[in-house]
């Protein structure tokens, strides 16, 4: 559907406001959108954030560097490990620590598992948002396997706090390799079923195709990143551009679709899951064995300066910007969260669409509200 024109004749019509959220099934948390509506057509979107704002950046100014990491779990909780890794990498970069190879490989595997888990959850919720309720449970079944793997090694299922500056918290569980190897063929076998169930469905295709188009220029101008930008043809995968951890040792494709609509973003994520499996498969067989912790001081003090570390979370480009004045606490920490910029894109993408489409667009943008609010 391109544009909707209403012939009102002599009848008077009036635009009205619709509060979507903070309690609304489609906002995936406590995001509030103030929609200006004309009938069912959305004329304007104004986001109202901050319902889960905890000022993590301010809290970081009063914490030590090791202690920051557990706060980042609570931002984008679906890619908690990648957030941890980002901070750890920023600190390591500032201290110029070379971490053991084993740590790099572990972090990469964990990061990719987290990405798959996040995309699986997104897929389930995506189905829910367009009305196919069964996808949710199928996705959760498969995500549960990752959560179990995480629980075994990290001791937590969602907020792992697994990376530390210079290493990881625990060594891998003896079962880890076995269970990951069980998981890879399992996911490979269910993703075709997912495609049959949802992707190929004519209703779903009609709901997705040509809806919420984000052009290449707009994607860059909006600061979109991750699958959202890659669905618009922007090559922006930090794993390819500036490989961190063990990503420089693996061979994988960057998934890019150029249509820029809902279906492109959907396809990017579906294909990314398979690519992540590829990455894990390449690393899982020979994890080096050279310790899980580089030598760090008990009290970490960063040298004076400014350090930026960008990593690719499941949602996009997370930037950790640390300004240090040489004390044990950072002077300023800024988390440039991918969801924040992607939300900006929604404001324009949603205009002129029906309310059901706005829900679908929001779903393909894959918000995690704590990540937006921080």
């Amino acid at each position: 559907m391109d544009t909707v024109t209403l012939n009102t004749g002599d009848l008077k019509s009036q635009e009205y406001f619709l509060n979507m959220g903070p309690q609304h099934p489609a906002t995936h948390g406590v995001l509030r959108l103030i929609l200006t509506m004309d009938g069912e057509v959305v004329k304007n979107i104004e986001p109202d954030l901050g319902f889960i704002h905890r000022s993590i950046e301010k809290q970081c100014e009063y914490e030590g560097y090791k202690q920051i990491i557990h706060l980042t779990d609570r931002m984008d909780y679906l890619s908690a490990h990648i957030n941890n890794e980002a901070v750890a990498l920023a600190i390591e970069q500032a201290l110029e620590i070379e971490v053991p190879e084993r740590v790099k490989v572990i972090r990469t595997i964990m990061g990719e598992l987290t990405r798959i888990a996040s995309h699986l959850l997104w897929w389930g919720v995506m189905g829910m948002d367009v009305g196919a309720l069964t996808t949710f449970m199928y996705a959760f079944r498969d995500r549960e396997m990752i959560n179990d793997i995480m629980e075994e090694t990290c001791g937590a299922r969602l907020t792992m706090s697994y990376s530390t500056p210079g290493g990881v918290m625990f060594d891998l569980h003896p079962n880890f390799v076995k269970r990951v190897k069980e998981f890879i063929p399992h996911l490979r076998s269910v993703i075709p079923k997912y495609d049959e169930l949802l992707t190929g469905n004519v209703i779903f295709q009609k709901r997705m195709k040509g809806i919420g188009i984000l052009s290449y220029e707009d994607a860059i101008s909006h600061g979109a990143s991750g699958p959202v930008a890659r669905g618009s043809g922007v090559s922006c995968d930090r794993r390819k551009i500036a490989p961190y951890s063990a990503l420089d040792k693996v061979d994988f494709k960057e998934i890019i679709y150029t249509e820029g609509d809902n279906l492109a973003r959907y396809n990017v994520r579906m294909k990314e899951m398979l690519e992540s499996l590829n990455i894990i498969e390449q690393l899982i067989d020979n994890i080096p064995d050279d310790g899980i912790q580089a030598k760090t001081k008990a009290l970490i003090k960063l040298p004076k300066g400014e350090f930026l570390q960008r990593v690719e979370t499941a949602r996009g480009d997370l930037g950790v910007y640390i300004v240090s004045d040489g004390k044990k606490n950072p002077y300023r920490v800024k988390f440039r969260s991918p969801g924040f910029s992607n939300l900006n894109a929604l404001i324009e993408m949603g205009k002129g669409h029906l309310i059901a489409d706005v829900v679908a667009i929001m779903s393909t943008l894959d918000f995690v509200v704590p990540d937006i609010d921080r």
């Binding site: 990491i69 557990h70 001791g155 530390t164």
Partner: protein, 159 residues
């Protein structure tokens, strides 16, 4: 022609979707084959042995613990979940004043299970328990004293 093709193609995709759900439904009804529900109180929950449930202090059978009251965990904790109330007591054998904990207070309600305290502990006095039955009716019940009443420091830990 494409009109009819559209309809038939659409119906075909719908049927493939139904095939997937049906493929899960019928074996589930007949043999519970794909059912993943774990009926928790009847079936035991599977908890990994590393699961970070809550921080506990290890005591041996003589009601002795390994905490010297060094406060490393208190400093390591990012959000002040641990408070240690300690005292200096004269050790009669050596004649020196020694730090002895009175209460090792742990606010489970504030704890984010980040593992920093346990990593920081030089004497391995505190550890994770996999207990996850942590809900209470009152927030104050989440504030726990980890050392048992009357417990004292295990001999030989100080060195």
């Amino acid at each position: 022609m494409s009109y009819i093709g559209n309809i038939l193609g659409g119906i075909k995709t719908l049927l493939t979707g139904m095939k997937v759900t049906g493929g899960y439904f019928f074996p589930s009804v007949i043999g519970r084959k794909y059912t993943i529900t774990r009926q928790y109180p009847d079936e035991p929950a599977i908890v990994a042995d590393r699961f970070k449930g809550e921080v506990v202090m290890w005591h041996n059978e003589n009601n002795e613990h390994r905490c010297t009251g060094c406060q490393a965990c208190e400093i390591a904790c990012p959000n002040g979940s641990i408070e240690i109330i300690w005292d200096r007591v004269l050790n009669e054998e050596t004649g020196k004043k020694v730090k002895v904990i009175d209460q090792h207070i742990y606010h489970l309600g504030m704890c984010t299970m980040c593992n920093l305290c346990i990593q920081a502990c030089p004497t391995n006095a505190i550890m994770w328990s996999t207990n996850f039955h942590n809900s209470t009716y009152d927030r104050s019940q989440l504030t726990k004293v980890l050392n048992k009443p009357g417990s004292k420091l295990m001999a030989g830990v100080e060195e």
